[in-house]
């Protein structure tokens, strides 16, 4: 349904290499405006590489990355951030010896300073009231859940059109995972498109509109999240595994 609004981000036949290691193999994605799209897959299949390719930290060896109708694969990372792509990095990656407020400010690094920044900061504090109390605290001393909130808040400070999240549930307790996913949904409802890498397939598919499944660098399955939830291959490969680990 969301795709009627048009495409926001596209991968067309993207290949990436680390030296001789061929990671993404002729990968294509289509992310529509307003969607939550999940990227599922096992370890080392190229999920984080996908995110780094969007951010421009990794350059494709061939193929095209298109954002708002324009190829961006040759742009510098800073330029991509300016155009409206913000990351929530794997394992949070806050600046550990800076305060919560400084971390949030750095999310808005490419934006002009002005009253809008203060408004956006208030909006982030509304979403995460605890962050307001903790704004002077050194980020490295926060709990994992709090760090994830700051990481999401930091991405919002860029006023992005697209947020790329790399395993936002990693290392969080089930209760916190639920909270984080609630917030992701809330952010999406306010109009931000979300492309999200997840190992927690059950949770991801419960909030995503669509999903791609990556296996050793190739897209092996894609479609509506609701349909994928019923797909026996997915149930066996990802959802089954998850129930076992959740019970453990």
């Amino acid at each position: 349904m969301q795709r009627e609004l048009g495409l926001l981000l596209e991968f067309r036949g993207v290949n990436t290499h680390y030296g001789d290691l061929h990671v993404l193999k002729d990968v294509s994605y289509e992310i529509g405006r307003g969607e939550i799209v999940a990227l599922l897959g096992g370890n080392a299949c190229g999920k984080s590489t996908t995110m780094k390719t969007i951010m421009g930290v990794v350059r494709p060896t061939s193929g095209s990355v298109i954002f708002e109708g324009q190829p961006i694969e040759r742009l510098r990372t800073a330029e991509r951030v300016k155009r409206g792509i913000a990351p929530v990095l794997e394992a949070r990656r806050l600046f550990p010896r800076m305060t919560v407020l400084e971390n949030l400010e750095l999310g808005a690094y490419t934006r002009k300073r002005g009253p809008e920044l203060a408004e956006d900061l208030e909006r982030v504090y509304e979403l995460f009231p605890r962050m307001k109390e903790r704004r002077g605290q050194i980020a490295g001393t926060l709990s994992g859940g709090e760090q994830q909130m700051v990481a999401i808040g930091r991405a919002l400070m860029a006023r992005p059109r697209l947020i790329c999240m790399d395993e936002p549930s990693m290392g969080l307790s089930p209760l916190l995972v639920e909270q984080v996913f609630d917030i992701i949904q809330q952010i999406n409802r306010q109009g931000t498109t979300i492309f999200m890498v997840e190992q927690n397939a059950a949770m991801a598919l419960s909030i995503a509109h669509r999903a791609y499944v990556l296996q050793t660098g190739q897209v092996v399955l894609s479609g509506e999240a609701a349909k994928l939830r019923e797909n026996p291959a997915i149930r066996e490969a990802y959802l089954g595994e998850l129930q076992v680990s959740a019970a453990a």
């Binding site: 990656r93 806050l94 600046f95 550990p96 800076m98 999310g107 690094y109 930091r154």
Partner: protein, 309 residues
């Protein structure tokens, strides 16, 4: 002169040397904090800085036989010399980074560090060949004001060195702590890849670190000249090694650590020279370097865990 006076005098001397080492140590720490590179070219950026200061002073009419200045004229000459020296040294640091180090940015291993040693020798030899091996008289525009404290003497040059160093260190701390670029520097030091994904142009941060560090080394070169009344192509190695020790002692990569380390090394040099003998001062200082590296590599204020967490 009583023994107390002697120690008081050495305290004054030590604080002056320490202020100079602190300025120099900051350059090692700023660059290391961002690139994890020990920049040995810094030694001789300091040396070149002292020659730039000498040239600037001559340009402003301060020569060995000129009468001392006072009031506004003195302030203008000192500020002018400091500004010219810092800008020229800063640009020299940036040129070294752009020409010699940037091409090696993605090369693993010690290539970049070894290159800084090479650059250091180039600067050393260029000054030696260009200006000769004899040490140069460093004229001072300062009037010979001195305040006797008991048997010790506090001269204007020491007060000036303290004030200039304090102002520069306070300015640097303010810059790193509160400005947008300063925050970008700290972010880049803590996690370069994440910083890049915030939209920070890491390349610009690196240029800035070299500029600031080298500019401070230039200021240190001016202090050296004012303190010792000479300069020479050879001054970079001793002062540079002591300042490097100061940076390691304080915790390399740590800005307040470099300042603290500098002061401590300056005091050790002055007091140690008094207590034992001047020739032992370096033995003590470099023993400290070795002991810190072995037993507390993170230094006094550094984090025990390495840079990334």
């Amino acid at each position: 002169m009583t023994l107390t006076d002697v120690y008081l005098q050495q305290l004054i001397n030590g604080l002056s040397l320490g202020a100079m080492y602190a300025l120099l140590a900051l350059g090692f720490t700023l660059v290391y904090g961002i690139l994890e590179l020990i920049n040995f070219a810094h030694f001789n950026v300091f040396m070149v800085g002292s020659f730039v200061a000498l040239g600037a002073l001559n340009l402003f009419g301060v020569t060995p036989n000129a009468p001392p200045l006072a009031g506004l004229a003195l302030g203008a000459v000192l500020l002018g010399t400091l500004a010219v020296t810092m800008v020229a040294s800063g640009l020299l640091g940036v040129a070294i980074e752009r020409i010699a180090l940037k091409p090696l940015r993605n090369v693993r291993g010690p290539a970049a560090m070894i290159t800084t040693i090479g650059v250091s020798y180039i600067l050393f030899n260029v000054v030696l060949l260009g200006l000769g091996a004899d040490s140069k008289n460093f004229p001072s525009p300062l009037p010979a004001l001195a305040l006797p404290i008991g048997g010790a003497v506090l001269r204007l040059r020491e007060v000036l060195i303290w004030i200039v160093s304090l102002v520069l260190m306070a300015a640097l701390t303010w810059f790193v702590q509160f400005t947008r670029m300063g925050k970008a520097m700290r972010a880049t030091a803590q996690d370069p890849e994440a910083a890049r994904m915030m939209g920070i142009e890491v390349d610009r941060v690196i240029i800035l670190a070299f500029f600031l560090g080298s500019a401070l080394a230039g200021a240190g070169g001016l202090m050296f000249g004012l303190y010792y009344n000479f300069t020479s192509y050879i001054i970079g190695f001793t002062a540079g090694l002591r300042a490097f020790t100061a940076a390691v002692l304080g915790g390399i990569g740590n800005v307040p650590g470099a300042m603290l380390g500098g002061i401590i090394i300056g005091l050790i040099e002055a007091m140690g020279g008094q207590l034992v003998s001047a020739s032992w001062a370096d033995v003590i200082i470099f023993s400290i370097l070795v002991l810190v590296l072995v037993f507390r590599p993170a230094g006094l204020l550094g984090r025990v865990a390495p840079n990334k967490s």
